[in-house]
């Protein structure tokens, strides 16, 4: 059972990565100019004609497109994603530098988001018809209509320009020394933007789950038999959490999309900012690598969510682990 479960996920993950790698390869191939230049970027000028030919042969640039893809894929799997056209450094090195920054941003956001949205969602779902209940519904629609960068600018104007509480850009201060406190000080506003633009929708989803769960048959049966409200509530929450976690999983890709905007706005040196910069300066190897690594990160995070689903949903747990 567990082998089948893992197998299914591995296949799905592989399909995603093949699609993403196709997309990445397509970018490089459709990119204007000499493909050798696209691979070796800034180093091209220093290459002799003979070396260029060697590269062309190594990457099979004289072969059909599919064969080129196979060669590129083989290289990519071994970690060779080419060299940045502008910086001349290996793409994989640059990506590994930026990846932790994006993971920090998205990770902290998800954690805070989970806490706040759970809190509000449960509270609002439990008190149907209350001010909080109706307020949350309106807030969630309104907040999903605000572009995140606009919200970012607004927060920046208030908290950086006017009040001077938080830095408007960058990841560390010269005087801050780059410690963890300094990092948190800088991550506050980007995280706040991502949290604010998602918290309404998340909380509302949980609220709806709690509401529909509260109306279910077993709740009525328990109530009719005088089971303690506190115990009934525990069961409602446990069951409402299953679709909620699933929903969080479905929206994870959009966080990496959202981080593109937020990272650029706040000068957070992660994968999102890297992507935007590489589009601007047409650094194709870097762009390809960036798209690919985001694909990998999404596949991994979805796998984590899948594992979490198995842990919290006994039906899946029994099916997969038989325990």
């Amino acid at each position: 059972m567990i082998a089948k479960w893992i197998g299914k996920r591995v296949i799905m993950g592989t399909i995603v990565l093949i699609v993403v790698s196709f997309l990445s390869f397509f970018i490089l191939h459709a990119a204007p100019g000499d493909p050798a230049a696209a691979y070796y970027g800034g180093n091209l000028q220093t290459l002799t004609t003979a070396e260029k030919e060697r590269i062309a042969q190594a990457f099979g640039l004289d072969k059909p497109v599919l064969a080129q893809y196979a060669i590129w894929l083989r290289e990519a799997i071994t970690g060779n994603l080419g060299y940045s056209a502008k910086e001349g450094r290996a793409v994989s090195t640059i990506l590994l530098e930026k990846l932790p920054n994006t993971l920090q941003l998205v990770g902290i956001t998800l954690m805070i988001l989970a806490i706040i949205s759970t809190w509000f969602g449960l509270l609002a779902g439990m008190k149907e018809g209350s001010l909080l209940d109706r307020g949350l519904s309106i807030f969630s629609i309104a907040s999903s209509a605000v572009p995140s960068f606009w919200l970012g600018i607004l927060l920046m104007m208030i908290f950086s320009v006017q009040l001077g509480w938080f830095p408007s850009s960058g990841m560390s201060d010269v005087r801050g020394g780059g410690g963890i406190a300094d990092r948190l000080h800088h991550i506050f506003l980007p995280v706040a933007v991502l949290v604010l633009s998602h918290v309404g929708i998340f909380a509302r989803f949980l609220q709806d789950c709690v509401k529909s769960e509260s109306k279910s048959y077993y709740v009525q049966v328990a109530r009719a038999n005088g089971v303690a409200e506190q115990e009934i509530r525990k069961n409602i929450l446990r069951n409402a959490f299953i679709p909620y976690v699933n929903y969080v999983g479905v929206t994870i890709p959009s966080f990496f999309g959202g981080s593109i905007v937020v990272e650029s706005l706040f000068g957070w040196s992660g994968l999102g900012q890297l992507l935007v910069k590489s589009v601007m300066v047409k650094d194709f190897p870097l762009l390809m690598g960036g798209v690919l690594i985001i694909g990998v990160v999404v596949v991994v995070s979805l796998f984590i969510i899948d594992v979490l689903m198995v842990v919290i949903n006994p039906k899946l747990r029994r099916g997969v682990l038989r325990c």
Binding site: Y217, A222, A224, G226, V227, N239, N313, P314, K315
Partner: protein, 249 residues
């Protein structure tokens, strides 16, 4: 023991129950029979104090001379907790899907009475054996058990709490024919051996005839006939009861 006197319930201007009067004597099985929409289940809701907030109620429901209609919500909860136990129709959905049976059985029984988990396990184990349920259902989730098993789990809770009144609201309608009979036999045994007072709501005349001592026939929110089973089934007085019996046999 439980007596209902002139009970009327209306909701949004619609009369759901009209002037219902009957008694449930101690130690006996009384059955309310009627088709769907006859007000059977609404009567149960009224007894349990679970009518919608804006429902208008008149008349009296008294349990051992205490009027339930005028009780505070808190007392009603206490009543459901300590004096009644109700088994509903859809056993498969009567338990929370993602919690192990041992926790659910506990909150339906020992938890209400302030027992420790240890006390609960010891007592429940014996009861489950009586009902032909093995120990390992404690470690199972509801979706791993059949409807019949879950309905017996409900009954196990009733055996544990020993309620003043056991209400069974269409307890067998969702079960297979074979299991239906088993369950009815269990109800009978419960009444015979422990003297539990039972109010059985059903649309199935066979079931009423086989276990009940007395029947209450309801139609469109009103009681049309009451009496001992033998009297009502042999010499029905009301035309509706006659019709029911004619269509049945």
């Amino acid at each position: 023991m439980l007596s209902i006197d002139g009970l009327s319930v209306s909701l949004n201007g619609r009369q759901l129950i009209n002037n219902v009067t009957f008694t449930v004597p101690k130690g006996r099985i009384t059955s309310i029979i009627g088709e769907s929409g006859s007000g059977k289940s609404m009567t149960v809701s009224a007894i349990l104090g679970l009518l919608p907030v804006h429902a208008q109620t008149s008349g009296a429901i008294s349990l051992n001379d205490k009027n339930l209609v005028e009780m505070s919500p808190k007392d009603k909860v206490e009543l459901r907790k300590m004096h009644f136990f109700t088994v509903f129709q859809d056993a498969a959905n009567s338990f929370s899907p993602s919690t192990k049976m041992k926790h659910q059985l506990f909150i339906f029984t020992g938890h209400k009475q302030g027992h420790s988990k240890m006390e609960f396990y010891q007592k429940m184990r014996v009861i489950l054996q009586d009902l032909d349920l093995t120990d390992d259902i404690m470690e199972r989730y509801p979706f791993e058990l059949s409807g019949g098993m879950l309905q017996r789990c409900m009954l196990a809770c009733a055996l544990y709490t020993e309620p003043t009144l056991l209400i069974a609201d269409e307890p067998t309608s969702a079960l297979d024919m074979l299991i239906q009979k088993d369950f009815i036999d269990l109800l009978k045994k419960l009444n015979d051996e422990k003297g539990t007072t039972i109010l059985l709501i059903t649309h199935d005349l066979d079931i009423a005839a086989s276990v009940a001592h007395a029947v209450v026939v309801m139609k469109k929110g009103e009681v049309v006939e009451t009496g001992q089973v033998s009297d009502v089934f042999d010499k029905p007085q009301h035309p509706y009861t006659k019709l029911l019996l004619e269509n049945h046999f």
